[in-house]
């Protein structure tokens, strides 16, 4: 209890942190409490199964016990007054994650899907794009002669069959969609087909007439590609990621509007398949949103040596699809002065300017909710906020629709967080512990703050930050693969060893980031994690070296648990 007192003195101790510290004080030596207090946001959803019994607040323990008696597969029992405990609108990755966790927690759960199960990620996003990127990665390997030669390999001219590649992407999406559907069916989640419209508290209309009731409702309707004004999408020559993933044709020259991760991934695919690419970026730098240093390095590897050119600081004010023998025309205006700059004529244009929340027909007006720039406003617990700034009871919104962090796994994590709350355990998701990845070749991944963000925060809050870096060139495994290009960067507090951000550019960066994101989620400090052992030779040693190269003043916070003799 001593610990919780000290925490409440710290201004930002959230209830969840308190809950956590309660449990900590009960189960661990007080020395661990330091961790919780120093973190700005409360715990991520780590290792829920294991922690349930320990983390639930004493007040909710009884309720939880009742829930746990229900077998995971029987989808709970209907509450007295409602059809379901939990109704999720939207069966994307966020809704799916929430549904699975809800069943595990003993809630009777239904999921409403107006289109196809799997949502954007599975059908029109992360999943099929990974299939295309798998192809582009191999094509790239086969095409780089000096690289193959250095390995002693000989490959005669590599070619590809467009339809075959497209089928691979489509088959993968189908397979994952079926997996998702089956996993929910197996758990007994009711899948209700039709557009879900909220009629009022606890009441949702599915399709044209079916009205169901639920104690709690999660909105997880996701997003659609954002198409700026003046751009005419015809689905053939002017396309969005939705169309591009079908890979109906591979243009000689494609302009990609937007150089964020969607645009970058597609540039990787298209250039590997032989297209030339022109980026149009409204900001002054390519790859906005990435840590600038990583972005710059990535540009040296992913853009400059490839058949790519770019226009920065310009908007595509008007894009006309190809017709009557005329090419796609793109009118560029200066992003600041709005003066016309140039007209591009290309074979195709891919609009990758981001994604817009999808809330059409959701009946938000029935609960007096006004969207902000299209997004549904929520608090840090994903509780929907109405037009008067008040919380709407029992209605939550997760994923792209709330715009907090437009990533599939973030949506899923938010969904799980909501389920935790409705089953009686307060929970706030630490978004800074959610990793993100861009699956170019090589990959880019990140978690936490970028260096400028960290510096800003450090200035504001008056602490020091340091940056450590390691290169893939020093990593045996990377060199064995002849893929020494890459950098890992750690932004941390030298005073206490807190990890503020990790950014990786290099071979399998997307898989490597989790050591860092888990450390952030669990509050592990550098002085502790640097003693963790990594198998040799593996790429994970890049992070090992990264942690070891950090200079932290604080001492190891807890001795390694009981030595085990072998």
């Amino acid at each position: 209890m001593q610990a919780s007192l000290s925490l409440s003195v710290a201004s930002h101790a959230s209830p969840a942190a308190l809950a956590r510290s309660n449990h900590s004080s009960a189960s661990f030596a007080p020395v661990n409490l330091r961790f919780c207090g120093l973190r700005r946001e409360a715990f991520g959803f780590s290792d829920l199964k294991q922690s349930e019994s320990r983390r639930v607040c004493p007040s909710s323990a009884r309720r939880w016990k009742a829930a746990v008696s229900a077998l995971a597969s029987d989808n709970g029992s209907a509450p007295k007054s409602f059809d379901y405990d939990l109704l999720i609108i939207g069966a994307g990755v966020g809704g799916h994650g929430a549904a699975l966790h809800a069943v595990e927690k003993g809630l009777k759960t239904a999921i409403v899907e107006g289109d196809v199960v799997g949502g954007t990620c599975v059908n029109r996003g992360c999943v099929p794009s990974k299939a295309l990127l798998a192809v582009s990665g191999r094509m790239r390997e086969f095409q780089t002669e000096h690289h193959l030669k250095a390995l002693g390999l000989q490959v005669s001219a590599a070619g590809y069959d467009r339809q075959g590649v497209a089928d691979h992407a489509n088959n993968l999406a189908t397979k994952i969609r079926n997996n998702l559907t089956n996993s929910m069916k197996a758990l007994g989640v009711d899948i209700l087909t039709g557009v879900g419209t909220i009629l009022g508290p606890h009441k949702v209309k599915v399709g044209s007439s079916n009205v169901v009731t639920a104690k709690d409702v999660i909105i997880a309707t996701g997003s659609v590609p954002f198409v700026p004004k003046g751009i005419e999408v015809d689905g053939k020559t002017v396309i969005t990621s939705d169309h591009a993933l079908k890979l109906e044709f591979v243009p000689d020259w494609i302009a990609i509007i937007g150089s964020g991760y969607i645009g970058l991934e597609f540039s990787d695919v298209y250039t590997a398949l032989g297209s030339e690419v022109t980026f149009v970026e409204a900001l002054d730098q390519l790859m906005p949103g990435f840590d600038p240093e990583i972005g710059k390095l990535a540009q040296r590897v992913l853009i400059n040596p490839r058949k790519i050119d770019y226009h920065t600081g310009v908007f595509a004010s008007k894009i006309t699809p190809a017709k009557d023998g005329k090419p796609v025309t793109i009118e560029l205006i200066d992003a600041k002065t709005k003066e016309p700059k140039e007209t591009l004529e290309v074979d195709a244009a891919l609009i990758a300017t981001g994604r817009a929340p999808f809330t059409q027909g959701l009946g938000l007006e029935n609960i007096n909710v006004a969207t902000q720039r299209g997004f549904i406003p929520v608090d840090e617990r994903m509780r929907v906020i109405d037009a008067n700034g008040k919380l709407v009871p029992h209605i939550y919104c997760i994923g792209d629709a709330n715009g907090k962090m437009m990533l599939a796994h973030a949506a899923s994590a938010q969904g799980i967080s909501v389920v935790e709350q409705v089953t009686g355990r307060d929970h706030v998701l630490n978004h800074l512990s959610i990793p993100a990845a861009c699956f170019t070749h090589p990959e880019i991944s990140m978690v936490g703050l970028t260096e400028p963000q960290a510096r800003e925060k450090a200035d504001k809050e008056g602490f020091e930050i340091s940056v450590a870096k390691t290169s893939f060139k020093a990593n045996t495994k990377a060199l064995a693969e002849n893929e020494g290009e890459g950098l890992a960067k750690l932004i941390y507090r030298p005073d206490n060893g807190e990890i503020l951000g990790v950014h990786i550019f290099g071979l399998h960066a997307a898989d490597l980031i989790h050591e860092a994101s888990n450390a952030i989620a669990l509050g592990t400090r550098i002085q502790d994690i640097k003693f963790a052992v990594h198998a040799h030779p593996t790429l994970s040693e890049v992070l090992d070296e990264l942690f070891k190269s950090a200079k932290v003043k604080a001492q190891v916070s807890s001795p390694v648990s009981e030595p085990v003799a072998v």
Binding site: D252, W253, E276, V277, T278, D309, P327, E342, D347, S471
Partner: protein, 558 residues
Amino acid sequence: MAHLLNTPFVPSAQTLRRSPNLPPGARISGRRGRASVQAKIREIFMPALSSTMTEGKIVSWVKSEGDKLSKGESVVVVESDKADMDVETFYDGYLAAIMVEEGGVASVGSAIALLAESEAEIAEAKAKANSSSSSSSSPPPPPNTAAPEPQVVNVASVAVAKPPPAAAVASTHQASDGGKRIVASPYAKKLAKELKVDLGRILGSGPLGRIVAKDVEEAAAAAVESNVAAGSGPAASSPSPGIQLGTVVPFTTMQGAVSKNMVESLSVPTFRVGYTITTDALDALYKKVKSKGVTMTALLAKATALALAKHPVVNSSCRDGNSFTYNSSINIAVAVALDGGLITPVLPDADKVDIYSLSRKWKELVDKARAKQLQPHEYNTGVGSVVNHLDLVPQDALGPRFDSHQVLSIPWVHARGPNALDLPDLCGGGALQFAWILWISRGKVSVTTHEVFAYILRIEQRTIEDRGLKLVGTFTLSNLGMFGVDRFDAILPPGTGAIMAVGASQPSVVATKDGRIGMQNQMQVNVTADHRVIYGADLASFLQTLASIIEDPKDLTL
């Protein structure tokens, strides 16, 4: 991306003296310390930050004109093909004139700014900046367009901003507004920049008349052809087909260097000793090991090196006329003819390296030389001992980590001023190795030892060339046997003790001691040596040893 690697630049030897008794531009003969009385204006060069870097972009000037600089301070951030790096100064002084503005591109080694020692000299430096840009063609003109080459300007903007000359019809692209706009694919633009082709002169063959990569390649090829046809091509790189008789052709850099060296050689008293060597055994050996990639050049280099090991005086060199150096290692330079020039790639430690590795190394050097990609340390190694250390350390190894102040505190790093020629005297190999490992580790980034070396030696080379003292290996081989030349003599490259001219090995009728007449393959070699240090008997016994090695060559493959 700054701070990745803090690489210091070293201002060159081109220092101006203010002293009225000396002509401007006179070389400073003393060591730096002694010369400090005179005011200097130093040039700040675009450093070579990686082995593949040919030009660098100025990301930002950390200091502005008129700022006072102190040793070790960052002055400019340079973007290379690999990374952005802070470049520091080794000298106190004032940043007098910035010659390449931010965003500008300059080729490696060209001046990007001037550093004045005192405030009073700023004006002088500025004047120098202006005059140097007008008097010589290579240093960049002032403000924006900085680099000597047209690569400064982004091709895309050229394409848009500059209408093509009326003479050439632009692309027939229907949207090209009668040539005002050029539509070229991204790769075509990149290629055009690389091949220095004006997009405005190209007729596009792509969809809707767009210029595609193929068009640029064809245009580049056509340009070469037409140059040849008109005879106006730069004689420098492709002389054979396009030589126009009666024209005056200025020396290329390489030809200039060769010329300097040859004139320089006249100051050395040389003499020649010839020898005829029977090569039957060597030829037989060659046949045997040829399939393993062993070349005749490598065999000869190896044999020579083994003989040199027994006669260290032949491997010595005299630089000042008062003393001479027994070189610590045997580095065989082998002359290679290039289009429009001659260079001498160096086989380091030829006496120790086995014949197979030597052959591989040789092949690699020749391939690179032909592609004109030789790194300075590979073709120019006046600092022979440096080369050895390159081989001692794994090429991609990262050194231990040190902070930059530790590096700056190493005397050697400071000592590497314009008088870098003194390297072998200044420190032993160990210190050198230590120093550059530190250098690598300064930015804690993965710069290969190779790259650091290239950088050090590029500076080295500049210095050496500036002094007209381009040096070569410790012993040079020149072989014209492949042309059927049976004997010739070679000019001794300055800074070395001896050079051996090797003629063709050909069947000769010989009388043997037992009174018979037989047929033997024989080759004539002719050694030119510096008689200040190497005497006739030295060469004679060296040649005897060499002959015995070649005539009984089993040791060569050990």
